[in-house]
Structures are given as C-alpha cells and as structure tokens.
Homo-oligomer: 372 residues x 2
C-alpha cells in the first residue's frame, strides 16, 4: 500500500493520534507502507473507533481523498514522515496526518501563532496587521486560523509585509470557512501554506475548531493573542500553547474594552506583555548581542537580499520615504503626498524602518526620522 493511501486511511480513523501512529510504526519496524496491515493493527492498542475504521475503511471516501490529492496538488504528511513538522509531532495528541496546500517547507520554519477575537475592533485589527507585518518581516512565519477578525488581519499583515503565513483550517482544505476568506486563502496558499488534519469534504463542525487550535499553537514557538474577550476561543489556544511548553504573548488594551479582558487575564497569568514586535523577538531570542534584529529572513518570499540593518544599503523606495519624512514628524497622508508612494506600502515600510530604529512613531499618527 502506498504511503499516501496509508496516510489517507489513518487521517480518517476517528480519534487516531500521533502516538498511535508511532506505536503502529514501531510494530511495523519503521515500514510506513505496512502500518494498516491487519497483523500490525492487531498488535497495537488503538482507540476502538479507529480500529473499527481501519478494519472496515470507507473505500469510496478514501478513493475520493486520493483523487482530490492528485487533482489539487496537495500533500498529505503522515506523522513521522520527514516533512511532518517536528514541533507539531512533539505535542500530545498530534494529528495522525496533515493535508497541506502550498509550500510544505514553511511548516518546519520558525512560526508565531497569532489569534484573537472574530468580532475584533478596527484598532485591534490594525494592531494585528502591524504586529504580523513586523514579525513576518523579521522572518517569523505567522500562523493563524483564517477566521474573521484578528486571524484574517494577521494573515494579511504578514502577506503585505512580504512575509509568509500558515492558515490552519478546521474544515477540509476544499471547504474554506468562512467563505469570505476564500480569496485570502488563495493568497496564503501562494505565500505559505493551508493546513488541515480533516479530509477534503469536511464542512465546518463546531467540535473541530478547538481541535484545530492545538495545531495552531503546536506549529508555533509561541502564541500571541491580540484581542480576546473573557470567553474567547483564543484563550483555549493560549492554554494549549502553555500545555505544549510554548510561549504565550498578549497585547494589552484599554480596561474599558471588553476585548481586552482575555489578554489582561493572560498577562496576569504570566503571558508576556507585547507592545511591539521587538518584545516578541526579544523573548524568542531573535536578537544578536548588540540588541539588533538578527536576520532570519530566509523564509520570506522575497528573501535573499541583505537585511537593511545598521549601515546596510536601503532600497531606493526606502530612501525616498526617508527623504520625504525628514526630522519633523509627519502623517502617512503627508508622506503619500510628498513621496507618491501608496499609503499601504508606506505603512509597511514605516514599520520596517521603526524596527530598524531609523524612525519613531509619535502621538497622533505621526512618524519622525531619528538622527543616527
């Protein structure tokens, strides 16, 4: 039996986890093609529903899964295979197999999970976009759940900054939910990966979303919560991150906003308080000894060029922007008028310049150049 067939079968086995795949692999002496053979299954202690399925699999559904894999160009990674992300393989109850659309290599790179409220405030979404942009620029992959609100803003922020992003779905990869994020899903596939443990055809089911959360936190070095009320599912993701021995980060906000309460609770429980991307990078030790950002940009889609650190040459557009900025603080609108660049690209360039310590934000949406 091909490994793809074995993986599709194990992916559909109810309740089957990475630990079960490990036991099957040991029994099969490492021969992954043999994992579903009756004499292997017979000697391993499996969840009853999974054993039953493996003894009488739904051949039609499995055939459709394999056909969809061929047609879509997706990969199906079996727990224990080289491409299965090792940091996810290490969590308790890891998925037996992962469907992946996009670039598989991105899953083994350093990731930061960003999650938060679906009904986020405009400010919360802007903060998520800026944070994701700064962190993606520094080379972190932004991993989230493709939900409305903070999730979508985080994916978008990473993409706008030219970074990569991973979306973990609670549905099959052919059933993007919510539907309004279908276009975003397409962009993520092209600059990162869409991931799901659920076979194609799986629609949105309430019980699958908390399970999805453990994969989001399990793929990442840490989880950053941007806006979350007291009962938010994001708090579950943060708890999973803690269970998995990963870092938890949270952005504080006004005590008058109910969307700050979840973040404040996390901070009170020990989460790192995050005001800017550098706080996350410092905690994850993505700094060198001179307290300058270390380039881990190899994972960026536009990677390869020199990171514009101290003294490094700047792109022409950045020079234009710095010229337009001067040392008198100015708004983005002023900069659009002065430079002819678009507001969106100015916003992302300002973020990068801020991370480099070349400019600083001032109250009232102003930005000013720092003398060096």
């Amino acid at each position: 039996m091909s490994i793809a067939t074995v993986a599709a079968k194990l992916a559909r086995s109810p309740g089957l986890t990475g630990e079960d795949v490990r036991a099957l692999t040991t029994q099969a002496a490492g021969d992954l093609e043999r994992l579903c053979e009756p004499e292997i299954i017979a000697h391993v202690d499996l969840p009853p529903a999974a054993r039953e399925f493996l003894q009488r699999p739904e051949e039609a559904a499995l055939g459709a899964d394999l056909e969809w894999l061929r047609a879509s160009g997706a990969r199906l990674l079996l727990w224990g295979e080289d491409d299965y992300p090792p940091q996810l393989a290490a969590i308790p109850g890891a998925p037996a197999a992962l469907y992946v659309l996009g670039e598989v290599a991105v899953l083994t790179a350093a990731q930061l999970a960003m999650v938060g409220a679906r009904k986020a405030s405009p400010l919360g979404r802007a903060i998520a976009r800026d944070m994701a942009g700064g962190l993606a620029w520094a080379g972190l992959i932004i991993t989230s759940g493709l939900a409305a609100g903070i999730d979508a803003a985080s994916h978008e922020g990473a993409l706008t900054a030219g970074g990569r992003t991973v979306a973990v779905l609670g549905t099959g990869l052919d059933r993007v939910y919510p539907a309004e994020n279908a276009r975003l899903a397409g962009r993520i596939r092209a600059a990162g990966a869409l991931v799901s443990e659920f076979p194609p055809g799986t629609g949105p089911q309430r019980q699958n979303f908390p399970r999805r959360n453990r994969v989001i936190s399990g793929l990442a070095l840490g989880t950053l919560v941007v806006e979350a009320d007291d009962r938010s599912g994001s708090l579950i993701t943060a708890r999973r991150a803690l269970d998995q021995g990963r870092e938890v980060f949270a952005v504080p906000g006004s005590i008058r906003s109910p969307l700050s309460r979840g973040c404040h609770r996390l901070i009170r429980e020990g989460a790192h308080l995050v005001e800017e991307p550098a706080n996350v990078l410092a905690e994850l030790r993505i700094y060198n000894k001179n307290q300058r950002l270390v380039s881990i940009r190899r994972h960026c889609t536009n990677g390869g060029e020199t990171p514009p650190g101290a003294g490094a040459p700047l792109d022409k557009e950045y020079e234009m922007l710095l010229d337009a900025l001067g040392f008198e603080p100015a708004t983005i609108d002023t900069l659009v008028a002065r430079s002819g660049l678009s507001g969106e690209s100015i916003a992302s360039m300002l973020l990068i310049l801020e991370l480099e310590g070349r400019i600083a934000p001032y109250p009232g949406g102003l930005y000013g150049r720092l003398s060096k």
Copy 2:
C-alpha cells in the same frame, strides 16, 4: 524645650532622616524634649549640614514655623511619636518630622497611593476617578501628590465616593502647588489630610518633588500607576514602593498611547495588572473567604452604616437606581432621565453596585442589572 520646638528644629535640619532621629532618641534615653541639646548632638553621628544647623539654628524661621503651627491648627509629628505613621517610619530615609493639616488618624489607616501623568488623557482621568472611588468606598485611603492630572482625579474620585484622601505636598502646607488645586486641597483637608515634610514657606523646588514621592509610596500599602509615559516621575514613585517592600499596581491601556508605556513597563517588571478596584483589594487581601469585599469602611467620612453586601438592605437611592436600571442595559443619561438623580451621583453609585456584583458594565457606556 517643647517637643514641637524640637520637631520644628529637626524638620529644618538639612538631610536629617528618621534614622538620625532614632539615634538622637537613643542617645537621649527616649526623652524627646532633649534631642536638640548640645551634649546629645555631640555624641551622635549626624549629616554635617544638619549638625551645623542644630548648632546655629535660624531662630527667626523656627519662630515663624511655630507661629504658623499655632495659627493654622496644623500638627507637626516627630519621627518616633505615637501619631507619626509607623509604615512611613519604617522606610529608609523617612522624614524627621511631618507637618499635617486635617485628621492625623487617617495617616495610620490602610492607604493606597495613586499616581500618574500630569498631562493625563480624559480617559485616564476618568479611570483614576472611578478606581479611587471604588477603592475609597471599600475603605482604603487614597494617597497622592495633589499634582494636575491623575493625582487630582484620584483625590476627587475618593472625595466623590465619600471616602478619605491624603495629599503629600512637595511644598510647605501654606504653599499649595499647583495653585489651581487650592480648592481641592481645602476639600482634602476637610476629609483627610494634607502632609508635608517641608516647613511652611517652602515654595515649589524641583529637587523636592522626587523626595515627596518616597513619602507617598511610604505611607501606602501599595502604589497604583494609572497613566504614565516612559519618563514619568510616577515610575520613580513605583520604584520607591518596591524599594520599600510595598506592592506596585498598574492600569494597562492601548499600546497606541504613549501614556500606557510606563504602566506596561511596570507590568512587564512584575507590577500587578489592574482592571478594576477588586484586583487591588484581592492583592491586598481585603476580601473575606467568600470572595466578598470586607468592610474596612470605618475610615470613610460617612462610615458606620451597614455596607450594602449580599442581602444587606440598600439605601433608598440605590433602590431607585436599580429600579430605573432594569435588566436592559442603559446609559447614565437614560438613568438621569429615569431616576431624577444627578449624573455624578449615579456614576458613583453604579461603581459601588458594580463592586457588589449587582450590575455590570457593557460596551458603549451601558450598564445592566445582574439577576441574583
């Protein structure tokens, strides 16, 4: 020599601290009236400038101090006297003596220091007022520095809630600074105390304000910072509180506001994150075993009545307000129209009802009754 004369002399001795008064007292075998006698001073290691002053005191200035004490009705408390607040006496470098206008007993009661930006935002001032009101209602004395912004709002919040408040001045008690707070100072004197280690006639001098901060934190069980930028003097007060082994509390805010940065830094360094008065009370263990607020209202000006706890009878005005509120969330304006009560008294009553768990705030300035 009378104790008042001794205290006035020691209060004017440059650099003299509580430790020095202790040494003098030991040398005088506990006889406070003898502390300034030449044979006592000769046998104690004192700061040179203080020794020089004590040997040749400015008699005219001392005479004026004593005359002002008589005329104003102020008290002058010598370190080691019974009325000198013991929690302040315990800090390193405590004032040798304290001028007090108002009620001396309030200085030995449980205090919370509240400090923050002079150029506070309207939201910051509203938060300071509400916090101070809730904490004062619970029986804590609110201690602050009578500065513009957060200080003034904290004093006002305590007064509006019928609580007591202490203002520690960096000037003589006859020289209220800033002048616009003179009326507030009068209200504080009537419902608490004005305190200074500086003799009457001392005007505002830059170097005296940081010294004043150690008295604010030293009088209190803990210091709550409401809004503070990165370079705020409030951070010095918070650091003094830590040095003195007291608690530090901070209110978080939007990461887009420079006035949040100081508070966020404190939280990152271990300060307790505060969203509501109950957070402070819980940390200071002003809760009973059922997690209900314990009445320490004996220090409130209107103290004596039953605290309106679970099942306790409510004042008639509170009943009117709850009737006006109903279970559909309403704004304060709506409640003014429905109840005929003033907006200000409704605001402070809502706070108390919120602390008791009878109502809850909702987004958009709405309040709703909770079913019990």
